[in-house]
């Protein structure tokens, strides 16, 4: 009794404060935090493009064609006199929008597919796994290109939804594989038996009981796939199969005519490529740290 009274009357500051999530992440994963800062910089670029970019990214100015980087044009201009820095700032909008949307779409579909595969087992599992095996044997860009070829373009709210579908598709089997193995360990838990005993439907068990429990691998895969999606979007746009002119996109800035300007205007090649590399690098760094932090078992 005395003990209880003592605890209750203890001053509030004696109770150790739970360290904040962000604080522990910074302390344990300094590199990942650096990655996060760069990611946030890109997010700021994307959201505040209108105020950050000094010029209109699509404004043609033949008076300033191919001018070298100087005070007026930080990263120089392209063959139409468009400001390269402004195009990179606006390009982060395209990269992040396509990257984030396709990573989330692909991971969500993959998670449901993998959870269903692991939960139902048996023939369903066998069929889904064969399908996943076949999909995994293709390079992601090949799958994406097949989808681009079949679906063509469909622009909704300024975003090509078919491009997002094309980039999301290769992520589905990868996420399905991981979601399946996580599900197999969850299915063995007593609370799934309890849910079954309570007479819940299979879809309710998968959606309400299994999926919330694989949120950690889901988050890890989403960040890793955003990096891959940005790279894939840049590659497709470079090939002329992704975003099209005049929309500012990093891959597009490197494509087509700009190759004629290797000698006269190397800044047209250097800066957009750097923007892609830095973005992919930052997301990879952040994703790796997030993995180590959330789920050290996945390390490897």
């Amino acid at each position: 009794m005395a003990n209880v009274a003592h605890v209750a009357s203890a001053p509030a500051d004696a109770i150790p404060k739970r360290p904040s999530l962000v604080g522990t992440f910074i302390k344990q994963q300094p590199l990942g935090f650096a990655g996060l800062l760069v990611v946030l910089l890109y997010v700021t670029f994307a959201l505040g493009a209108r105020w950050i970019a000094p010029y209109d990214p699509e404004a043609v100015d033949f008076g300033a064609m191919l001018s070298a980087p100087d005070r007026e044009h930080l990263f120089g201009t392209d063959q139409y006199g468009r400001d390269v820095f402004s195009r990179i700032v606006y390009g982060s909008r395209t990269a992040l929008a396509v990257g984030i949307l396709s990573a989330i779409t692909g991971c969500s579909l993959g998670a449901v597919l993998g959870a269903a595969s692991g939960y139902f087992g048996g023939r369903t599992d066998a069929i889904i796994q064969r399908f996943v095996d076949i999909m995994l044997s293709f390079p992601i860009i090949v799958l994406a290109m097949v989808v681009v070829a079949v679906l063509g373009k469909r622009v909704v709210f300024g975003i090509d939804v078919n491009l997002i579908a094309a980039i999301a598709l290769p992520f589905i089997p990868k996420m399905a594989r991981i979601a399946r193995s996580s599900t197999l360990s969850i299915v063995a838990m007593p609370f799934i038996d309890a849910a079954k005993a309570a007479g819940y439907s299979s879809s309710r068990i998968v959606l309400r009981h299994i999926l919330p429990n694989i949120i950690a691998p889901y988050l890890i895969m989403v960040t890793a796939f955003i990096a891959q999606a940005i790279l894939l979007e840049a590659s497709l746009s470079f090939l002329g199969l992704g975003v099209t002119e005049p929309t500012p996109a990093w891959g597009l800035m490197l494509s087509g005519t700009s190759a004629d300007f290797y000698k006269t205007a190397p800044w047209m090649i250097l800066f957009p490529g750097l923007a892609i590399t830095l973005a992919v690098f930052a997301f990879n760094l952040f994703g790796d740290s997030l993995r180590d932090w959330l789920d050290p078992k996945m390390k490897g």
């Binding site: 064969r130 399908f131 076949i134 999909m135 044997s137 293709f138 390079p139 992601i140 860009i141 090949v142 290109m145 097949v146 989808v147 681009v148 070829a149 079949v150 679906l151 063509g152 078919n162 990096a227 790279l231 840049a234 590659s235 470079f238 090939l239 002329g240 199969l241 891959g251 490197l254 190759a259 290797y262 000698k263 190397p266 090649i269 490529g273 892609i276 590399t277 830095l278 992919v280 690098f281 990879n284 760094l285 490897g300």
Partner: protein, 317 residues
């Protein structure tokens, strides 16, 4: 060994049938219409009759099971159909482009292995020293740099330092090895970098793991020289995961080629694939996708054979 090989070769048949079915459905059953995409690509006003006529010409108006039967029958005779764009047979189109891509892929693999094994070993031996940090930074950036941009940087460097560019147009290595190699080494380097990066990381972590094994401690306790410990005992055991990664990443290598061939203007499989996609030539796309699946299967078989060579404990049966 022979039975293993024969069984694996026979197993290719059902796998390829699975892939063929997947490709068929991917292209024909997905929402969207290749004919519409092809004819109305640039917003051209094409009448419904023209589209129907084109569909009929390509045999797309037939019921799905009939199309599927014809497709499988064609495959059984190794007939992949005709390119919708050039009218040439798909097999022929692919065969003329194959040598360039094949050579670049082999060169990139060699480059990757030649870089990854020594660098990964150094990195593991000098763990947490500046050598290790340099290697790890190089490896991590290899994962972030798009291969096509690296290719452009190489061209930029060749132009500004040597004021020289490799000649456009492919010469067979048997005709003129110097011209061939001096043109193809650059694309091989730019796709090989990512490949090397992945393999280096794997080499480092595999070697670090092996160093913790008892038999390494035993070897050291017996007084075996460090050099011999690394070469005889550690390296051989750590190569297995590296071989796996090299095999798995071969698929990515083809993906890298698709983009890099465009940068160096190489007329290979990758460029053919890009052209086929832009033109909506789905017969060609189908053939190329099957080819890529086939390559993946063969590479996996080779990886399994190498396992047996590296580690006699793995029985190929």
């Amino acid at each position: 060994m022979l039975t293993f090989l024969v069984r694996r070769l026979l197993l290719i048949i059902p796998t390829m049938v699975g892939v063929a079915i997947a490709v068929f459905f991917l292209i024909r059953v997905m929402p969207g219409d290749v004919v519409v995409v092809k004819l109305r690509a640039d917003g051209a006003a094409v009448s419904e009759e023209t589209i129907q006529a084109e569909r009929k010409r390509l045999g797309l108006d037939k019921p799905l099971y009939e199309q599927f039967g014809e497709y499988l029958w064609g495959l059984a005779r190794f007939d992949l159909g005709k390119s919708l764009w050039t009218g040439e047979s798909v097999g022929r189109e692919i065969a003329t482009r194959f040598p360039v891509s094949f050579q670049v892929a082999i060169m990139a693999t060699l480059i990757a292995v030649l870089i990854a094994v020594p660098l990964g070993t150094l990195s593991a031996l000098y763990r947490d020293t500046w050598i290790d940090y340099v290697v790890r930074v190089l490896a991590v950036s290899g994962l972030a740099i798009p291969s096509f941009w690296l290719g452009m940087l190489i061209i930029l460097m060749l132009l500004s330092v040597f004021n020289w560019l490799p000649k456009i147009g492919y010469v067979s290595i048997f005709e003129d090895p110097v011209a061939n190699l001096s043109a193809l080494i650059w694309p091989a380097l730019s796709v090989g970098y990512r490949y090397a990066a992945v393999a280096t990381r794997m080499m480092r972590s595999a070697l670090l793991e092996v160093f913790r094994e008892d038999y390494i401690r035993t070897a050291r306790a017996k007084g075996v020289y460090q050099k011999l410990v690394v070469r005889r005992h550690a390296l051989r055991n750590s190569l297995l995961p590296v071989v796996t990664v090299v095999g798995l990443e071969f698929a990515f290598l083809i993906g890298g080629l698709v983009v890099t061939e465009q940068v160096f203007n190489l007329n290979g499989i990758g460029k053919l694939f890009v052209d086929a996609t832009t033109r909506g030539d789905f017969n060609l796309i189908q053939g190329l996708v099957l080819l890529i699946a086939m390559i993946f299967i063969v590479v996996n078989l080779i990886v399994d054979l190498i396992y047996g060579m590296l580690d006699p404990r793995i029985r190929l049966s």
